[in-house]
Symmetry: C2
Subunit: 344 residues, 2 copies
């Protein structure tokens, strides 16, 4: 029977025939193996370009046991933070000839394990962005995912680099900023329970409380989206706090919007801070005071760690912490009570 309709695909064999050499030689030339006569190499290259030969990645992948691709799994592609690290990883990896496969778990933590596993099998490595799964699950999963690098999480087992953001430090700075302005009652509108970065913020606030015992600190439970922030408005107002630490910029913006609807003036009546310094934080009304996180750098560093893992290069640090720095804009100010007690 006739061979099935050849999809006009030129393979390594065609090039070999055209150049009058063996498959092995073509492969050698294509992979820059120098142990081949320059003249022959040239002949092969000519044949390759003439036939427009492009190596089939599937064949290569199988033969080499690698794909030059890494997987990135994020909880939500709609979140500017994850978009940032995705972009950072993607660009950095591209520099080294690697591509990235994305997996969006849609905040369903039970999906994470299977997505991560699948990504790992398809790729040479996997970076897990702020996985929502429990610590126990993460520990259990880690060995089967190696090489893996974590963003904003860490594991006991060594060999899995983490790149983290010092949310504790950031929230302390923000709280201190508010306290410095004279706020004595501060509310933290917390993020998702399952969020590790939320836990870090809470720990940071505990330290803050120790150094500022006179400040009345209250925790309001909430979420991580704009809508969550908007819905927290009632609780925030009811709390009587004049300084509000929102979980992130998104919730801060939601809160700003909610407060505006109720006629509460920011920062005159209430000061609000965000976290992350997403690109739009400076365009809110008023512009948002927040803790800037160098998110692209986080992504880029995550790639570097991954590359070291893949190359077997022992990376210097397997835990890198990025420090946020607060940027003060218009959403924070001296609380009303103080202003009122100092009439002109």
């Amino acid at each position: 029977m006739a061979k099935r309709v050849r999809p006009i695909r030129v393979g390594i064999a065609d090039v070999a025939k055209q150049a009058g050499v063996s498959l092995a030689t073509v492969s050698r030339v294509m992979n820059g193996n120098f142990s081949v006569d320059p003249e022959i190499a040239e002949r092969v290259r000519a044949a390759a370009t003439e036939l427009k030969y492009q190596p089939n990645p599937m064949g290569r992948n199988l033969a080499r046991g690698k794909t030059d691709t890494i997987g990135v799994v994020v909880p939500d592609l709609g979140n500017p933070t994850f978009q940032g690290v995705l972009r950072g990883v993607s660009r950095a990896a591209a520099q080294d000839g690697y591509r990235v496969l994305i997996a969006d778990s849609s905040e369903v933590s039970s999906e994470e394990a299977v997505l991560a596993g699948e990504a790992r099998r398809r790729c040479d490595g996997v970076v897990l962005c702020a996985p929502r799964m429990s610590a126990a699950e993460l520990e259990e999963l880690a060995p089967s995912l190696h090489p893996m690098v974590l963003v904003n999480r860490s594991t006991e087992a060594p060999g899995n680099p983490s790149v983290m953001v010092d949310y504790g430090r950031g929230i302390q700075d923000l709280a201190t900023h508010l306290a410095g302005l004279g706020h004595t009652k501060i509310a933290y509108v917390a993020g998702p329970e399952s969020s590790a970065s939320n836990a870090l913020r809470l720990a940071g606030l505990e330290l803050f409380q120790q150094t500022h015992p006179h400040v009345d600190l209250v925790i309001l439970h909430n979420g991580s989206t704009f809508e969550d922030g908007h819905e927290s408005t009632g609780d925030v107002v009811a709390s009587g706090a004049t300084g509000i630490l929102a979980f992130n910029d998104l919730t801060a913006m939601g809160l700003l919007s909610g407060l505006n609807e109720r006629g509460v003036k920011v920062p005159e009546d209430i000061s609000v801070t965000g976290f992350d310094d997403i690109p739009f934080a400076r365009f809110t009304t008023p512009p948002l005071t927040t803790a800037a996180v160098p998110i692209m750098d986080v992504g880029e560093h995550a790639w570097q760690q991954m590359r070291d893992l893949l190359n077997g290069t022992d990376s210097a640090d397997s835990l890198r912490v990025f420090e946020p720095h607060i940027v003060v804009r218009g959403s924070t100010g001296v609380p009303a009570k103080i202003t009122a007690s100092t009439p002109e």
Copy 2:
């Protein structure tokens, strides 16, 4: 010589041995081929789960000639629009068991062809988001990329579905909105020359001009980023126009910021419109009047087209146009001249 250290990887052969059947049978069971005795199938399944067997994707890919992956190439992962379609495609594809590989051309149009080609070879298909390359290049590249679906571009050659947004209609609606408010001098702050959607907007404005001959329409050349919008402030003010159609929400936000710095009131002195209705458009000061584009739907539809292509299902329409709808917020209003001429 001893086999190199087995990386503990269980292959189909291990399962076959464990179950006492041939490789072929294991494969059949794993792929839900029913022509296998239920009892044996059960035995195979038991062996598979006991050994925690997971098929190696590289092997499958090569044997099946497909990867269950599609590539998405975008000009800039930092652009909310592309983030939106990426998210839409990713989620929709995931539903059908496909994954997505991303390629960010960083707005370098010369990179697009190579990135797209590589993505295509690695994946079963490719969706090109608003490629910046010339029409000629696109036509030339198209055949080698098939199956491919285009977003916001189209080709002569059939078989390459396009999903587009009716930017012409949107900008006309926006312009009409401004004209309706009484603006008689309107400026369009154009996007990148190479942007096809910019051309569509220009075409739309031409139609608008025909139906509104009395309106003085001026075109200011510019870019697509926030910074571009900010830098256009001088030209905008100098133009004397009272109604400004920004290329997109990003440039509109930049412009808003620039106008604010100069003490120009929006919308009292100048009205500004954006385009896209990115999630943050409603939080600018004042909230941005814009043309909302159902960007997630665009991504989702792009996937559907791709799926049809992959399945050989002839899709009903190979050109789908999504209509934007304008959403009027606070950044547009009656021009000052009119207000002044109707004193209370």
